[in-house]
Assembly symmetry: C2
Homo-oligomer: 280 residues x 2
C-alpha cells in the first residue's frame, strides 16, 4: 500500500486521539497546499485517462472512492476541488440520501451495487453503504443483530468488488464538533449557503458522541487489507482536498495503467485512409 499516511492501523479506533486540525506530512500552509493540489492535476488527469482507455479495451480495473463524514465535513468540497480535476467522462458520482421507498424494499447493498463504476471509471460515493451502520446504528433504523450482520456483509461485498478488479479507497473526513458548529453558523450567515443548511443537521449534531462511537466501530470492523480506511484530518479544507488528491493519485499510480496496444493493423489502417476513394 502506498500513501501510508492516514492509513488507519488495525485494531480498536479512538477518533478523539486523531487530530482534526493539523496538516501532518505537509510542510506549508493553505496557499502552498492549494498549489500542490493544482500541480497534481495533470498527472491525475493522465492516469485517469489511461485507466479509462484500458477500460475501453477490455480491462476490468476501476477505482471506488468512498467519502464518509459528518455534515459539513466537506464531501462536496472534495468532489468539486479534487475529483473535479479529472475528466468528468471517467467519473461516476453518486450522492446517497435517505433511501427511497423502492430502495427500502431491497437489501441495503442493492442501491450501492447499482451505482458501482464501470470498468475504467472512477466511482465516487458521497455517503455510502456505511450510512447503514452509522445513522442506521445511531437512529436504530435496524435491529442490533441486523446492524451487526452488516459489517460482515460489507466486508464480503467489498471483497467481491476487489476480486473483480475494483480498487477501493475509503476516506473518513474527520472534523471536530467545534469545527462543525463554526461551519453550520457560517452557513447561516451566508445567503449563498442557505441551501446547504438543514435544521435536521442540528438534530444529528446533538448525537455527536453516538455518531463518533458508530464511526469507531464501523472503522474498526471494516478496516480490511483489501479495502482500508483512511482518516483524513479535515478541519483545514485545503489539506483535506490535497490529501485525498494525493491518495487518488498514488492509488492510480500503483495501478500503473498502460495505454492499450492497437488491436488492429496500423499499416493496413493507414493505407485504407490514404488510398480511399473520393468521398463525394
Amino acid at each position: 500500500m502506498t500513501s501510508p499516511l492516514h492509513r488507519l492501523p488495525a485494531g480498536p479506533v479512538d477518533l478523539t486521539a486523531i487530530e482534526t486540525d493539523e496538516a501532518p506530512g505537509f510542510d506549508g500552509g493553505k496557499k502552498k497546499g492549494k498549489a500542490a493540489l493544482f500541480a497534481l492535476g495533470d498527472d491525475l488527469s493522465d492516469l485517469q485517462e489511461r485507466l479509462f482507455a484500458m477500460g475501453r479495451s477490455g480491462s476490468e480495473r476501476r477505482v471506488l472512492l468512498v467519502l464518509q463524514g459528518m455534515d459539513t465535513s466537506g464531501k462536496g468540497g472534495v468532489l468539486r476541488h479534487t475529483v473535479g480535476l479529472v475528466d468528468p467522462q471517467g467519473l461516476r458520482i453518486t450522492s446517497f440520501k435517505a433511501p427511497t421507498d423502492e430502495e427500502r424494499e431491497h437489501d441495503f447493498l442493492w442501491r450501492i451495487r447499482r451505482a458501482l463504476p464501470a470498468a475504467g471509471c472512477i466511482g465516487v460515493f458521497d455517503r455510502s453503504h456505511y450510512e447503514d451502520v452509522l445513522i442506521g446504528r445511531v437512529r436504530e433504523l435496524a435491529s442490533p443483530e441486523e446492524i451487526e450482520e452488516r459489517y460482515t456483509q460489507i466486508n464480503d461485498f467489498e471483497r467481491e468488488l476487489v476480486d473483480s478488479g475494483t480498487t477501493i479507497l475509503k476516506c473518513m473526513l474527520h472534523i471536530s464538533a467545534d469545527e462543525q458548529k463554526a461551519r453550520l453558523l457560517a452557513r447561516l450567515g451566508d445567503e449563498t449557503k442557505y441551501w446547504k443548511y438543514n435544521p435536521s443537521d442540528v438534530d444529528e449534531r446533538s448525537q455527536w458522541p453516538r455518531y463518533r462511537e458508530a464511526y469507531e466501530i464501523a472503522l474498526e470492523r471494516t478496516n480490511t487489507e483489501h479495502a482500508p480506511w483512511f482518516v483524513i484530518p479535515s478541519d483545514k479544507k485545503w489539506y483535506r482536498n490535497l490529501i485525498i488528491g494525493q491518495l487518488l493519485h498514488d492509488t492510480l499510480k500503483r495501478l500503473d495503467p498502460q495505454w492499450p496496444e492497437a488491436d488492429f493493423d496500423i499499416e493496413v489502417e493507414r493505407q485504407r485512409l490514404t488510398d480511399e476513394a473520393p468521398l463525394s
Copy 2:
C-alpha cells in the same frame, strides 16, 4: 435567445456552405482562445452551483447539452475541457453507443429518457437520440417511414422537456472530411490514441456524403424555437471548446439562477447552535 452566433437559421441546411476551420467572432488565436475559456471557468462554476442549489430547493430548472458530430469531431474534448470546468456533482454525462439488446426492445427514446438530468443538473449527451436519424438513416436501420416519423417524435419529446423546465442546447461539431482524415491518421501515429481508433470509423467515413445529407435533414427538421441547433466550426479544437463554453455560460446566465432563500428561521437556528447542550 442569446449567443446568436452559430445559431442555425430556419430553413434548408447546406453544411458545405458553413465553414469548419474559421473562428468567427473571436479576435485571436489558440493561446488567447484557451485563456478565454479558462477565464469563463469561475463564472460558469458559479452559475452552475446556483442552478444546482435551486434544484435542491424545489426548482425544476435544468439544462441539457446535446453533442453531435462525426467521429473525431471532438465530443470527448468538449467534455474534458469545457464541461470539465464545472463541479462534477452537478453533471450527468451519458455516452450513447450502439443500443444494447434491452434498449433495442424499446422505443428509441426509452434510453434517452433514462439519462435525462435531474433538477438543477446539467445533462450532457455525447451522441444522442439524433443517432436514430443519422446512422439510422445512413445504414437503413429502420424503414424510411419510421425515420420520417422520428423527427416529429423528437420535436415533441424536446417540447415536453422544455415545458417541464429543461433548457436544451444542441451543438453539431462541424469538421471537414479532410480534418477527420488528419485526425484519424494522427491517432494511428500516437500510441496514447490507439484506443480511440476503431477500424469501423473508416467504414462510416466512406459514407461521408450520406451522413452530411442525414445531418442536413435532421438539422432542418429539428431546428425548433424551443430546442435550436448550433453548428460549431470545429476544425480548431480551442475554438470549438471556447464557443460551447460561451454558449453554456450564456444559457445559464439567461436562466439567471438565484441562491434560494432560507426555508427556515435563521435566528432560531443560530440560537439552537449557540445554546446547545454539551455534546458529550
